[in-house]
Symmetry: C2
Subunit: 618 residues, 2 copies
């Protein structure tokens, strides 16, 4: 096997650097000729998958080369002809580990070839909207007051605008100083008939859209006049200190004195820091942000707004409020413009929140011509179904297994987490986050492992080990805790001991996927359509973007459909939040969606038990 | 002279007690037969004036007896025939010190016969309004949530109301607990399309109207369904600790770090305590108060709302906001219902505030058929003029002399303040607040003294002493500080030394009255009407209620008109606040009034200097 490193080193001495551009990431850099595309990707920090380590056996490092750049690479190798189909080769697909760079070029990295953890850096699916935000600017040059013209500052602004607007109290508190400092020239920011900010003339209107996730926060800073996303940033939800999942947080809020208030403040602080980070990145001041949109699941929504969560923690799990809300940013502790409002999208039910509504908005589910399914997989998996304009949704209690919890060596998708697994010809290949030595398994890794074990004949349909299997290959060993599969042997593990998968781990994945499968099956039943009628299946959110769709279909987590009917749409909740930030019409659509949608409560559905039991099979 | 005390004592042994009712105070009590009405008033705590101490010489203790009760008193005495006119006697007027009680009766005490300090306990002029408050109740009995009906609490309320209302965030925070405690029966309080409170079924809607005066706070608790004033209360403005008058407070706000915030909090705390006091009196909970109206002068308005006062302290003295405002009570620190709003009436200019607008509203000035003048005398005297539907106003910098400041023995109308002075046949009679030993002179006392001194020929038109005067009587003595008039000799003074009036004290009164007189004269000039055209002169506020109108006319403070054209209307600002609390139409009228009114800036008016100089003459 050629060693790209050696080739690279030799070439570096003999040839001039070549520019390569990885799309759609926009990552551009210079590399020496003679490097493989995979090696070039690694040097430039592009998380291109390569489970087998560049051995040409796994096929996970597929990239697509546009026709005009195909000559820039070495000819298609024998290994590629074996691994790839004729059709793929005709379309310009190459294995990055086999394709050697000769001249400057551009390559396209499909989502499924990115390392799982890097996929979340890709923006959620973009949906174009007409920029028509709820806030509008009006530029005024006013005459200063005089004894002969002692109108109040506010009256002067009203006269300048020519209409009887209200000024928010906090705007009034700031206005005298600002107006005098700016020589009575100002950009008035109107939200309906209320002035929510006064800015210096020429300041563009800025807004933030934020997704308050149970684990992660995502924020986007937008120019509200052009619609452009100026910058985005992510952070961990500081509430993690008080519990990993929604139920743990609700319990904390109910049992600890001041618990709810502590969680409220943690969410507010987290979002406030995110705003500051976004502003620092873009070089603007937080007080120039004049509008915000926040989405989150119903529990995050309630905790952030300071609404009681007791009703969410007990049957029948009703929210306090499900309609959209407009709340003064200062009342929620966010450092925006003095009178800026936060628009909180509507939620649907106790476990179907504003983030799901935002995802429906972003994916235009309601306008789908053919039956379309949307899943956002997490501790609670929200599932939406659109059939001929009818919308259904439910929430499946899938548990935290896909977030690494309840799995013996489970962990989040942090450095060293096994995020992708292939078993090829009896050998186990693992890819870890940031290629760090393996220290545990994250959700996509355990899903891959279970699917590959089942495919390799090491697991039976009930999730039990088959020690005598067809391949004659087995790394299932007996331990004090019963039989375990050795995913990473002690020698290559970053832990100093083997990373294994046991029967209970497999069981957790079975429970999780059964809950999800029962959920979408019941929605199909309610809508009166068959699995095969589904034209599109959209898999949203961080975990949905990590996973290998083929494996998820193989174990029955996702409907059994051709892979081209699936689309991993990324953080569409964030996209929906941005759409609602930019467009009044989209806000109205979100409110309509939330009202139109039919919520199906799974726990009391007559088919639930049977479907769940059947879906436990791998 | 009969001694009522002796007669009383004898009678108490021999006769059964008799009931006497003093109107319009509603003070009722039992007294022995044979007592004078004046003595009965004192025993029952009715502040009936009696400057000469019951000697029958001053005529200040006039009361009116209705025809059916005239037989209950001793026949009209010779003294009364000498002091009162035939016409007065025919109308049932008696001198309370001469009229002896024989049978149960009712007497009416005219405002001018009340001790000055007690007058402020009389309500301001009442103006009937149609009860139509901005908040309305809706009683709901909702079905509790179930797995088959998991609508949010708010959605349940919206469905119950049958319309798409918003719920204030703080209402949402309280609602889940309340609804479940009350078994899903609740009284929803709506303000437009927003729910501002949820109350237990059957709770009446309550509101508070408050007058935030520079010195005093006045509060009224009203039932918003019946329009009834349930109780009222007063308190000192806690901001007094930071300065006596408006300019001192503005200076404090500008010069002290955190000064403005300290003043804001003092005002909020004062009003909050007033609310609690009103609620305790009425036996209700502050969180059942669902709407409030606050009025005050422009500086108080700004300090309470936390608006910058710098522009108010410097020419051209413009307010930050002059339009009416609706602010969440919680944002201003008042403990009302969770979502209750405070409506702040509009102001007109830097020194013509919402309290003046409320006074215009209460007096229906704008609807007056004939020229009508309204004065609210204080450190700044707000003057309004209505002529054929046109409204004018100005603010006269009358200074704090009428509040006892800048006067050598000046003091507020606290116990022991000389509040009324008569010089009769060379003798000086003084009446003090609560009949305590004299310790100083309050505004009405110094006004009385100057007028009586001028009338007795002891002062000339320039305010100088005439030591050789027509009456041959003089208590003007030479001191180290120049000549002084001895108002209270050392022997009867509560200070242990004489209470005197000097040339400078007289000068302060001249400056104050000249500023006010120049003010109303300029308004008349602007409106093109003569002094004699004024059909009504309304004298409002605490000090305006204290003063002897005849004396105020005599020294030129008020227009030279027959006394029956004057009306002392009391705290009409408080009345206006109550009207705006009860009626949406009155709020709208107040906003219109504030816009319609023409503000006249005196300091730059071409006639001001000349009129002021002329008005200095006594």
């Amino acid at each position: 096997m050629d060693s790209p490193e050696v080739i690279g080193s030799v070439s570096e001495l003999t040839s001039s650097p070549i520019t390569i551009l990885f799309q759609p990431l926009g990552r551009r850099g210079q590399v020496p000729t003679g490097l493989s595309v995979l090696e070039a990707a690694r040097r430039l920090g592009v998380g291109l998958s390569g489970v087998c380590g560049g051995a040409g056996v796994c096929g996970t490092c597929r990239v697509v080369v546009p026709p005009e750049h195909r000559e820039a690479l070495s000819p298609v190798s024998q290994t590629e002809r074996e691994r790839l189909g004729e059709e793929e080769i005709a379309c310009g697909v190459r294995l990055a580990c086999r394709a050697i760079i000769h001249r400057p070029l551009q390559v396209f990295v499909p989502l499924e070839s990115l390392t799982a953890s890097q996929r979340t850096q890709v923006e959620g699916r973009q949906t174009p909207v007409r920029v028509d935000p709820v806030v509008v600017p009006a530029d005024l040059r006013l005459s200063p007051p005089a004894l002969s013209d002692p109108r109040s500052d506010a009256e002067r602004i009203r006269d300048g605008l020519g209409r009887p607007v209200r000024l928010d109290l906090e705007v009034l508190r700031h206005s005298p100083h600002s107006l005098r400092e700016w020589g009575w020239a100002t950009r008035v920011v109107l939200r309906g008939d209320e002035v929510v900010a006064l800015l210096p003339l020429g300041t563009p209107l800025m807004g933030v859209a934020m997704d308050l996730g149970t684990t992660k926060l995502a924020g986007y800073l937008l120019n509200l006049e052009t619609g452009e996303t100026l910058t985005s940033a992510g952070a961990m939800n500081p509430q993690l200190a008080y519990g990993e999942d929604v139920m743990a947080r609700i319990t904390y809020a109910l049992q600890e004195p001041e618990g709810a208030e502590r969680l409220r403040r943690a969410a507010a602080d987290g979002l406030a820091q995110l705003v500051v980070a976004l502003c620092n990145q873009a070089g603007i001041q937080p007080e120039h942000i004049v509008e915000a949109v926040v989405v989150g699941n119903t529990a995050m929504h309630h905790l952030f707004l300071g609404l009681p969560v007791r009703p969410l923690g007990l049957a029948p799990y009703v929210p306090v409020e499900s309609a959209p809300l407009n709340v003064r940013a200062r009342e929620l502790g966010l450092p925006l413009a003095p009178g800026a409002m936060i628009h909180v999208l509507p939620n649907v039910a106790g476990f179907v929140g504003a983030d799901h509504v935002a995802a429906l908005l972003a994916t235009r589910m309601d306008e789908a011509d053919h039956p379309t399914l949307l899943l956002d997989i997490g501790t609670n998996t929200e599932i939406g179904l659109s059939v001929g304009g009818r919308l259904f949704c439910c929430s499946a209690a899938s548990g935290p297994a896909f977030e690494g919890a309840h799995i013996r060596f489970g962990m989040r998708a942090a450095p060293g987490a096994v995020e992708r697994v292939r078993i090829i010809e009896g050998r186990v290949y693992c890819e870890t986050v940031e290629e760090a030595p393996p220290v545990g398994i994250c959700g996509s890794g355990i899903l891959d492992a279970v699917a590959e074990l089942r495919q390799a004949g090491l697991l039976n349909g009930r999730g039990g080990w088959i020690e005598e299997n067809k391949s004659g290959f087995s790394t299932v060993v007996s331990t004090d805790n019963g039989p375990e599969f050795i995913l990473v042997p002690a020698e290559t593990s970053g832990l100093g001991r083997a990373i294994t998968i046991n029967r209970k781990d497999v069981g957790e994945i079975q429970l999780a996927k059964a809950a999800i499968a029962a959920g979408w099956q019941i929605l199909l039943e309610e809508a009166g359509v068959r699995e095969s009628d589904l034209a599109r299946v959209l898999v949203a959110g961080a975990f949905g973007t990590y996973i290998d769709i083929g494996h998820a279909v193989a174990i029955g987590l996702l409907p059994s459909l051709p892979l081209d009917r699936f689309e991993q749409v990324g953080n569409v909740a964030g996209t929906g939040a941005r759409m609602a930030l930019l467009s009044r019409a989209e806000r109205e659509r979100a409110a309509c969606l939330a009202r139109r949608i039919r919520y199906v409560e799974l726990t009391v559905h007559p088919s639930f038990r049977e479907r769940f039991a059947q879906a436990l099979w791998l």
